[in-house]
């Protein structure tokens, strides 16, 4: 993810496709670049090994649930030493792991050392998950000063706008809309649009967008979650909602939404114990 300086960014399409969630296209484009711009790839290779290692670490973390604690421990060790601040990839991967670990403090601390748009975008996401819209806006401003037109800056603007709500929701919608017009409507963009619509209580509009997303991938977890929200707001029969829920349970058992859901179920059971009728029949 090293940013190349210069007027024309040959990796533009690759990165762009990656950010907006068009992964298949991303791979295609990357292969195209590989063929066409072997020189560029050589460039990356020369300095790539620490970065690739970072990616490997993240991949390992994601793949093996059992090894996670060990990986985090090792990462903590690495972080306590001097870190190569220029290695954006390492920072991003480390922050990602911390974020997955719900250790937002460590994630932010890691990201704070980086200067790249990617680091800032991730910072914004972490801040938003902490409900610190005020700080996210500050960070966004920094991003905008660096490159307002970058895809990442635009996306970050949309995230912040959704969190701010009110009139900003429409702006956020336009950003997603604009990108799907410009590139192609990916699941990421469609769900973004749906989130904007739903935040504005435009349920019918959201239905169209989510249907499009569902057509693209019938088991995409975020789409399913949004459909669970939407079908209820549209007043559909509970069976419809339940179908999406069981679909989600089948395909994405480890999704945070379901983890949360399970926690809540347990909490409910626990709380129920606190109540009882004064007399029994």
């Amino acid at each position: 993810m090293a940013t190349q300086q210069g007027d024309v960014d040959e990796l533009f399409d690759v990165k762009n496709a990656y950010y907006i969630g068009s992964y298949q296209q991303c791979i295609n484009e990357a292969q195209k670049v590989k063929r066409k711009y072997a020189v560029v790839m050589d460039d990356i290779k020369a300095s790539s090994s620490p970065e690739l290692q970072a990616v490997k670490m993240f991949a390992e973390y994601r793949a093996n649930e059992g090894k996670r604690d060990a990986i985090v421990a090792e990462l903590d060790k690495k972080m306590s030493k001097n870190v190569d601040v220029a290695n954006t990839t390492f920072l991003l991967m480390a922050a990602s792991i911390y974020y997955h670990e719900m250790n937002s403090d460590a994630a932010l601390r890691t990201l704070h050392q980086g200067e790249s748009l990617e680091c800032m975008a991730m910072t914004i996401q972490v801040l938003l998950s902490l409900d610190r819209v005020d700080l996210a806006r500050k960070e966004l401003k920094k991003m905008q000063e660096q490159d307002e037109d970058a895809t990442l800056t635009q996306l970050s603007t949309a995230w912040v706008n959704i969190a701010v709500g009110g009139e900003k929701l429409q702006d956020a919608y336009y950003i997603f809309q604009e990108m799907s017009d410009k590139y192609s409507p990916t699941l990421l963009l469609l769900n973004g649009q749906a989130a904007c619509h739903m935040a504005q209580n435009k349920w019918e509009e959201a239905e169209g967008v989510l249907q499009e997303a569902l057509d693209k991938d019938s088991s995409h977890p975020e789409t399913l979650i949004n459909l669970i929200v939407l079908t209820q707001h549209l007043g559909k029969a509970p069976e419809v909602t339940n179908r999406y829920l069981s679909q989600l349970k089948d395909a994405h058992r480890a999704h945070p939404f379901l983890k949360d859901y399970l926690t809540k179920e347990n909490e409910f059971d626990r709380l129920t114990m606190q109540y009882a009728p004064t007399a029994t029949a």
Partner: protein
């Protein structure tokens, strides 16, 4: 200056515009007069009769006439329809300089080098007046447009104004107001007074009294000057080879137009339109001073356009047209183009100067609300630049005068500069892209990546029109249209002879465009054609169905109707790829050809007499009727043949037709008609056809064929008649002819069966269209059926709503009064808590923000999440559930409606929770971010949010129907489950008004009644019925069931059960009361009949055999646990949610109806609306 049309010819000395048609006359130095159509750019006619230069030329305003005056001293009046000179007026003795028609009288005014001005009457073709006085060549003379004045200018350095009122009066038609005539005759005594010189303005005087302004600039003789008909401008041209435009108020030249080699000689202004013409040494040109194309932009249903320094907004749907803002003044040029940004509600207005380098654009934010009468004039941002176009929500591209591309933000600051290939114009091309036009093509350019994506070759594109989904684009050049796809791959090219003006995409993907005189269509396949003709150019803004929305040159929004059948049909062909040959038949074309003549011909070609008849009726031309008659005769369609003969008054053929069809009555009528028409032979022929001998004799006699008449009479044995005829013979001169003794009777055979109906025809297989139309009709009926069904469903809904009667509403209001008071205090308590909570939070966030700036990074603490705010802002249980705060939600439900056993609520809680927050993806491979839809998102700010609920009262009411159906079907346990689900959902509602609160409470009541009744019935069915006591108990329960408040359809069933059980138990008196109640409900006839029988049986012995714990006359509540009556006044405990009644011993137990609440619990009451807390 925009040149519309140019001609090449000999020197042009005179010009005249036609007031209505797009025509101009040019009189040439070589004696030829040319008639041009400047819109079609064609020479219509040439008139070559003058000898030598023709200087005077003028169209008549109404008649198809024009007048010319030449150096051959002749004035010629021409008719352009007849294409010839009607007559020549002779009288002038030298070159004629100008000739003009009077606007009203049949007069021609001519000015000549013979120092006279003459007035001619072109009807009487005489000279009516000679105006003498100038003592040099008269260069020009014109009538005043409204008064009886003539003005003339001469080389004697004077301008004279002549009063011709005398001439007018003298020329009044005789019998007009007499006094006037007398008055004139009085004046007449003093000699020639037809025209009197009123003023003489000499050259020196000009400089004193009459010269208002001098415009200096031309450096050779000025040939001609005219006032602009509508603006404060003067146009002049000169032998210095230039045309100049002068501003009268500023007294300065504003525009100059030069030619290299040609001296200008004459100028003409169109009387109505913004058009001028100038004649020079080698031809002439028609031009206008400025563009008339309005600047406009379309977004969704809105049209934005500029009119008179205002930006206006037109809503296509409501046709509401409002001025939304006033533009900054200061530019003398009209707005050239517009780009609208819906996200920011901002516009870019580009203004082109004569010198392109001085062009500017303005960026305005359109005010949100505006008074249409007096709209705001917001401060715009102006910069120089040729064109400005939005490329993103917050970015626009500017093509500056150095032809480089700048990207700017909403503050009009340059964000970046983009190196582009040579480019003269830029166009919108969707987000992040632009179309760049260079000398010979258009390039699709990605602004962000700074690279060209595709190029297409087309010269001088002027406008670009994208389809609504940006899948197609039409590139409009002066005489060509190219349609491309999103990737700028050319799909088709269309060449137009006439200028292409504008276009828009219709919903089906057909491009509708206008030329100067047509509305046309183009399919992406390249198929194109004319839809209709236009009188004046229009600018299409949108096409929807058969409406074309457009702006005219006065910037008035208009809607034209078009017939889209043809292109729709072709589109269908293209899309469905039918075998084309099958469809190119006249039969098919008939359905979309509207021109009657073509339609008629086509109909005949395919033998469709009915359609041809319709067309013929519309056309009503003899030729048509004849052709139709022939065709119809071939088909044996003799009724149509008859009509054709009648229309063409073809009596012979008509008579013969009646003969062969055996229509004797009409044949006789024809004979009568022939007689009236004095058509002897026709008359005789008719009589012959009819076999009417006496008539024939009469005819022959009347036309003087005495001998033939005699012979006819004699031969047919009409002796009396023959005798009387014989007597008339003058035997000296005439001989009585011999009667042929062998004569045979010649009589037409009498028709056995007159042919009233048409010749039988073979059934023709139905064409594609008729089939398609018929099928469509059927589909329509199906839809209608569905509609009929639909009200049935709604009928149920109405019933359910009827159930929510007024009583309940009243109760609810009473309750509200008291509870409202209590709630207020509580609300206050919450507020206090909120105040206490918030300040530390705020301080914390401020503190941590400061820490970050110090360099040492302190991770921020968690902020206040919207869900926490929801809990703080509301005391409605559902808001807490949505926020995931089950603990508080449970406490609220416990306190409000006494829920003590939450098990059954688990499903509802989890479901509600799952709709509280949406998802959106942040960075790849990170957990998603969560959105929080709020019901008051528009005005909640950061602190006052409340979640979107997602459970509506109307949905719950709709769900009742399912329960009713289950009840009818007898599936009681399922029904009870559903009723209970509804009942439990009610406390999780949020409603807006008192009526809805009452409805929610009524909903609970309905559910309760059904649940109590149905559970009791289920219970009853399980009970044994062996002993009498057991049977008595069964009857009691059945009787109680009839006291639950149910839908009539269910009550009928319940009453029938009770009636049967009581009848069997021989409790006839009570049974009779059930029977009567049943009949009151109006059951089905067979049920009613049976009930009446039972009732009659009961009434025989109106007694009850057994004593039961049931008194129908004493009102009671039913204990929902023991199923025993609780007569009024006895102690009772109620369920705090459902309101179900219980005997006191059940207090503290779980309600049997809700299965969640505690019987007799002291609670606040149901809370489903913020109103209940005020």
């Amino acid at each position: 200056m925009l040149t519309k049309f140019e001609t090449k010819s000999a020197r042009v000395k005179g010009l005249s515009f036609h007031p209505k048609r797009p025509w101009i006359l040019a009189s040439l130095h070589n004696g030829v007069i040319q008639l041009w159509d400047y819109r079609m750019c064609t020479l219509i006619d040439k008139f070559d009769e003058h000898d030598g230069p023709v200087r005077g030329i003028d169209f008549h305003k109404q008649q198809p006439l024009f007048v010319s005056g030449g150096d051959d001293y002749k004035i010629k009046v021409w008719n352009y329809k007849l294409r010839r000179c009607l007559f020549t007026l002779l009288g002038h003795l030298d070159y004629i300089r100008t000739t003009f028609f009077h606007h009203e009288y049949p007069w021609i005014l001519s000015a000549s080098d013979d120092q006279t001005i003459r007035i001619w009457n072109w009807q009487s073709r005489t000279c009516v007046c000679v105006l003498t006085g100038h003592n040099h060549y008269v260069m020009c003379a014109q009538f005043h447009p409204s008064e009886d004045l003539v003005v003339s200018a001469s080389l004697d350095q004077t301008v004279r104004v002549w009063d011709i009122s005398g001439l007018r009066k003298k020329n009044l038609s005789p019998g007009a107001v007499e006094t006037d005539v007398r008055g004139i005759s009085g004046v007449d005594l003093f000699g020639a007074s037809d025209a009197v010189v009123k003023h003489v303005l000499e050259a020196q005087e000009f400089s004193k009294a009459w010269e208002l302004d001098t415009c200096r600039g031309h450096y050779n003789n000025v040939s001609c000057a005219v006032f602009h008909p509508r603006q404060e401008l003067i146009l002049s041209n000169s032998e210095d080879k230039s045309i100049r435009v002068w501003d009268m108020s500023k007294r300065t030249g504003v525009q100059t137009f030069r030619r290299d080699h040609d001296r200008f000689w004459v100028l003409g202004a169109h009387p109505n339109l913004n058009l001028f013409a100038a004649g020079h040494d080698s031809g002439m040109l028609v031009f206008k001073l400025e563009r008339e194309r309005p600047a406009y932009a379309v977004y969704g249903n809105m049209l934005y356009y500029v009119k008179d320094r205002f930006l206006r907004q037109l809503d296509f749907n409501s046709s509401k047209d409002t001025a939304v803002m006033q533009l900054r003044s200061g530019s003398k040029f009209p707005v050239f183009s517009m780009s609208y940004n819906p996200a920011e509600n901002a516009v870019l207005l580009c203004t082109r100067a004569t010198n392109l380098e001085n062009s500017t654009y303005d960026l305005y934010a359109i005010p949100k609300e505006s008074d249409s009468q007096n709209p705001d004039a917001p401060e715009g941002k102006r910069s120089s630049g040729l064109t400005a176009v939005w490329v993103a929500r917050n970015r626009f591209a500017v093509l500056d005068r150095m032809h480089s591309l700048l990207i700017k933000n909403l503050k009009n600051e340059i964000v970046k500069k983009v190196q582009v290939p040579s480019c003269e114009e830029i166009f919108y091309a969707g987000t992040g892209s632009l179309l760049l036009r260079d000398a010979d093509g258009v390039t699709l350019f990605d602004v962000q990546q700074k690279r060209s994506l595709a190029t297409v070759k087309i010269a001088k594109v002027k406008y670009v029109v994208w389809s609504a989904d940006t899948s197609h684009v039409a590139l409009l050049a002066k005489h060509a249209i190219m349609i491309c796809n999103r990737k700028l791959e050319s799909l088709c090219n269309i060449h137009e002879n006439i200028r292409v003006k504008s276009g828009a995409w219709d919903e089906s993907g057909v491009f509708i465009y206008t030329t100067s005189n047509h509305i046309k269509y183009a399919l992406t396949s390249g198929d194109h054609g004319i839809i209709r003709t236009l009188d004046l150019p229009i600018y299409v803004t949108r096409v929807r169905g058969n409406s074309v929305y457009c702006l005219d040159r006065e910037c008035r929004p208009r809607v034209l109707t078009i017939d889209p059948t043809e292109y729709r049909f072709k589109l269908a062909l293209v899309n469905r790829k039918y075998e084309e040959t099958d469809f190119v038949t006249p039969d098919l074309s008939l359905h979309f050809v509207k021109d009657e003549k073509t339609r008629f011909t086509l109909a005949l070609e395919c033998g469709n007499i009915e359609v041809a008849l319709e067309a013929a009726k519309a056309l009503d031309e003899r030729g048509c009727w004849e052709r139709l008659g022939e065709a119809a005769l071939l088909q044996g369609h003799h009724q149509v043949v008859e009509m054709c003969y009648q229309r063409t008054k073809n009596f012979d053929k008509l008579t013969f037709l009646y003969l062969i069809t055996g229509n004797l009555a009409k044949l006789r009528k024809m004979m009568k008609i022939a007689e009236i028409r004095k058509d002897m032979s026709g008359h005789y022929q008719g009589a012959l056809y009819l076999g009417d001998v006496s008539e024939r004799v009469r005819i022959l006699k009347n036309c003087g064929q005495k001998s033939l008449a005699y012979l006819t009479a004699a031969t047919h044995g009409m002796d009396e008649e023959a005798e009387s005829l014989k007597e008339t013979f003058d035997l000296e001169k005439e001989t009585v002819p011999e009667v042929d003794l062998n004569a045979q009777l010649l009589q037409p055979p009498p028709p056995i069966n007159p042919l009233d109906t048409n010749w039988p025809l073979l059934t023709v297989s139905k064409g594609f269209f008729e089939g398609a139309i018929a099928a469509k009709g059927k589909a329509g009926q199906m839809a209608a059926d569905m509609d009929v069904d639909a009200p049935g469903g709604e009928g149920w809904g109405e019933d359910a709503e009827l159930q929510l009667d007024e009583d309940g509403f009243m109760d609810a209001q009473d309750g509200l009064g008291e509870e409202g008071g209590a709630a207020k205090e509580e609300g206050g308590g919450w507020e206090v808590e909120e105040d206490l909570d918030l300040p530390p939070e705020l301080e914390l966030s401020a503190g941590s923000g400061g820490g970050a700036e110090d360099g040492f990074f302190v991770p921020p603490t968690k902020g206040m999440s919207p869900t926490q705010l929801w809990c703080n802002n509301s005391q409605l249980p559902v808001d807490h559930v949505l926020a995931g705060s089950f603990e508080t939600a449970m406490r609220l439900l416990h306190d409000q409606v006494g829920v003590v056993q939450f098990g059954p609520y688990k499903q509802l809680f989890m479901q509600t929770l799952s709709r509280g927050r949406t998802c959106y993806l942040g960075l790849p491979s990170l957990p998603c971010l969560r959105g929080n839809p709020q019901r008051n998102w528009k005005d909640c700010g950061t602190k006052q949010g409340l979640p979107a609920v997602g459970l509506r009262l109307s949905d719950l009411i709709a769900r009742l129907q399912q329960c009713y159906q289950l009840t009818t079907a007898g599936r009681f346990e399922e029904a009870v489950e559903r009723f209970r689900a509804i009942l439990l959902s009610v406390p999780l509602l949020v409603v807006d008004n008192k009526q809805e609160i009452a409805e929610a409470q009524q909903l609970i009541t309905i559910c309760r009644e059904y649940i109590v009744g149905l559970t009791m019935e289920t219970e009853r069915k399980k009970l044994p019925k062996e002993t009498l006591d057991q049977q008595k108990r069964l009857c009691e329960m059945a009787a109680y069931f009839t006291h639950c408040s149910l839908q009539p359809v269910h009550m009928v069933l319940v009453l029938r059960t009770a009636l049967n059980l009581f009848f069997k138990l021989k409790n006839f008196k009570t049974a009779a009361s059930f029977a009567r109640r049943l009949l009151e409900l109006g059951p089905k006839p067979e049920v009613a009949q049976q009930t009446r029988k039972i009732l009659a049986a009961c009434e025989k012995t109106l007694t009850d055999a057994h004593q039961l714990n049931y008194d129908p006359h004493n009102p009671f509540d039913l204990c929902a646990a023991s199923y025993t009556p609780l007569y009024r006044g006895r102690p009772v405990e109620k369920c705090p949610l459902s309101g179900a009644c219980y005997c006191p011993p059940y207090k503290g137990q779980v309600c049997r109806v809700t299965q969640v609440t505690e019987i007799g619990k002291d609670v606040i009451g149901l809370r489903v609306s913020p109103l209940q807390f005020r």
